[in-house]
Symmetry: C2
Subunit: 459 residues, 2 copies
């Protein structure tokens, strides 16, 4: 059932049960529905109501549901309860979700909370909180299952039964040597289908793909995707296993990074929360910053135009094709940027940036010729310009499209080279650069050429 249907169907039932104090119904509700579906229903209720509904579930179930809420909603809910209840919830959470939540809370509150947690959990939180944002360490969980190479399959399965309550996944089990060194992994599938007396060492795969704890989360998600993994082990500089990144967290990263690319392409600074959870003022500010910058660029274009006032008074028809010149450069540039940004995200720059820019130049040349033809034909036939004027419009369009293409492909590459997000140098910025360049080319170079040629042509 789609989320909207679930909410519409279950919301009223739930409210009725709360009003009637139907503890039995609420308990059944908590235990039977999928926690993700329940979280969607609860997301829209008031904080107190959410907590009173959750009180009817077991603690592990409460936490399971709670973890499916958005981080934004989790923070709101946590602010509505005391630290005793909070410490119970947080103590039960999976290590990665817990750290995500704590990193969003007031540091003073976190310091007050830590003493209430079990010692091992406390150390785990402190360690995970120390990893930089967007690193493998910041998205991994420390709750993995492990085995030693010399156990038999039967012993391994026995050990997994014991590890199950504390492991995020049992499907990949990591084989550790002395000092937690990552030697390989074995899948539960292989364990279940193997004869019980075989040794883990015979079954394990040693060509284990792993990430370093300081690797970028986007790279980590890319590896999970490329190798179709359920989980990717994360190791420190000495190849000791420190955590795992599970497929669902990797998928979230892919989704989030894609969202950032789309927003930056549209000239919006990426949002910390979802669109509907972001306030109007914050939205206005994350957009306003870019719009103001772009206004200044447009005013710089105006300044350039002003310098050509003498020219533009003489050639009033020039203004007609100004939108065409500006749009051609900007549009061709955003196209290149979109293609290159995705190629970088999918890690397929092919034979390096220069080859790529060369290819874009070729495409740009083709497109430039096409648009120049349209410019020439429409100038000559539609707007009845002279042949020289039409050639001048067409020539400007040609050059501007090629420049836009090269600029649109090089800016994301340069941005990546500098360690920034490739999408940062995106559509609005490229449009802005191309606007100024376009005006200079059109009013400056174009008209100069036109008058020079006319001067030469005249006897």
């Amino acid at each position: 059932m789609p989320a909207a249907v679930i909410n519409t169907l279950l919301g009223p039932d739930l409210r009725l049960m709360i009003e009637e104090g139907d503890a039995e119904g609420l308990r059944a509700f908590c235990e039977e529905l999928h926690p993700a579906a329940l979280a969607e229903v609860l997301a829209d209720l008031e904080d107190d109501t959410v907590w009173s509904v959750l009180s009817h579930c077991s603690l592990p179930r409460q936490v399971e549901i709670f973890e499916f809420l958005s981080l934004h909603r989790q923070v709101e809910l946590v602010d509505a309860i005391g630290k005793e209840r909070l410490s119970k919830i947080v103590g039960e959470m999976s290590s990665d979700d817990r750290v995500d939540l704590l990193s969003r809370l007031d540091p003073v509150r976190v310091e007050n909370l830590l003493p209430l947690m079990a010692k091992a959990d406390r150390a785990d939180v402190r360690r995970l909180l120390a990893y930089p944002e967007e690193s493998a360490g910041s998205i991994m969980t420390t709750e993995y299952a492990s085995l030693s190479e010399d156990s038999t399959v039967a012993e391994a399965l026995q050990s997994l039964r014991k590890q199950a309550p504390d492991a995020e996944t049992l499907y990949y089990v990591y084989v550790l040597g002395p000092d937690r060194r990552l030697d390989g992994f074995v899948s539960l599938r292989d364990l279940v289908t193997a004869r019980p007396e075989r040794q883990v060492g015979e079954l394990m795969r040693r060509d284990v793909v792993s990430a370093r704890v300081d690797d970028d989360q986007e790279k980590v998600a890319g590896q999970v995707m490329r190798y179709d993994l359920l989980a990717l082990p994360v190791v420190d500089e000495a190849n000791r296993l420190v955590g795992i990144v599970t497929h669902d967290d990797a998928m979230d990263v892919v989704q989030r990074e894609a969202e950032e690319d789309v927003l930056m392409m549209g000239g919006v600074e990426p949002l910390a929360d979802s669109y509907s959870e972001t306030g109007v003022l914050e939205l206005a500010w994350k957009r306003g910053k870019w719009l103001m910058f772009l206004s200044l660029v447009a005013l710089a274009t105006a300044q350039v135009l002003q310098r050509f006032e003498g020219v533009s008074e003489e050639y009033t028809w020039l203004v007609l094709f100004l939108p065409l010149v500006l749009a051609s450069g900007g549009n061709a540039g955003s196209q290149s940027a979109a293609l290159i940004i995705r190629a970088i995200a999918l890690n397929e720059q092919g034979a390096g940036p220069w080859k790529l820019a060369g290819r874009e130049l070729l495409v740009g040349g083709t497109l430039g010729a096409l648009l120049a033809l349209i410019g020439y034909l429409s100038g000559y036939f539609w707007f009845s310009l002279g042949a020289a004027e039409s050639v001048m419009v067409a020539g400007t369009v040609f050059v501007v499209v090629i420049m836009g293409t090269v600029c649109g492909s090089l800016l994301p590459l340069a941005s990546k080279k500098l360690g920034a997000d490739p999408a940062l140098m995106s559509t609005p910025l490229i449009t802005a650069v191309m606007d100024v360049t376009g005006v200079v080319l059109y009013y400056g170079v174009g008209i100069w050429l036109l008058t020079t040629l006319a001067g030469t042509a005249a006897p």
Copy 2:
């Protein structure tokens, strides 16, 4: 190790082994490296070389490696071998990857190939080929593991060992009633940790999230993500299990849909293959279509400008702020479009389109006021316009930003309503609409107001 490093390190080794005819080395190479890594090395080699390397692996391993190649590369390779070898490869492929490949081949070739395949496989191919593109049926595999409710855990594990060679995943096992009706599922984790004499019926979860075979793939991927699933069962109209969509295929859909959004935001028609696999001419055409359309819009803008030629000769300063007016509307519109497109992709339209458009109107008003202020101040102080002229510029910017915002949010929603991709009504189109509107407002309404007011003010 990143892909580039693997290729640089292993490429030369591999070539040496091929030249020396080192069969032992090649076999070791095939069996020890991760198939995904191997596929990356092979992708860059000539077709014949790829096949001669693969000949050194067992058939299942050959297919495992082959399936990690891009579809584009698979098609190229398939064209280089005869139908006997092809039928062996295709017979061994997983059902979803097989259909993806066959749907890309020449139908005549497929018809010649089918008689060489096992009867069950043939029926499977025909059934899967019949599902529409981008439906759940087109991305699912039919190789799932299933159990009946009344078996014990020990029997279930025994049965799974038998099903293992033909199941894409053993981690979710579907519990089927009469006529393959989907009654629930049980995870391998639960089976492994349960006592062997318990019944599957006691362990199974009945609140199973499933997709319909004709559901859109984007919705399916969204469900896998929302519920953190390893696989999602796909049922027909009678709730009979027909296949499963695994997490890795769902992740590919998320990635692909995100890529489409970015490209459409940039005004590029989505590519069938990856950027580097797409030819220059195809790239030029997928971009050229949009650019030509946008050129026509720019020419329509020119036509509108021409109608105001009398005005523009009188007010030559108008052209200075034309880029500002055009950019403000277009940029504000792309921002809204980017936000709404992502909100739709994440399935969080909140309280419906109208509330959303209302919210955007509020943000648009704030941004419009901000940019209008910049327009006024720069007109008055920087470009020394009169107060009335500066107000006219500011007023146009204000209206254009609000219109851009509303238009940028409504177009994707309308596009979705009509069953098209929301990103279709994206940046370039919004920019185009706002260009024409902006010119009419600026040259038409603005100047009319200015002269009317001046006329009234003058005695």
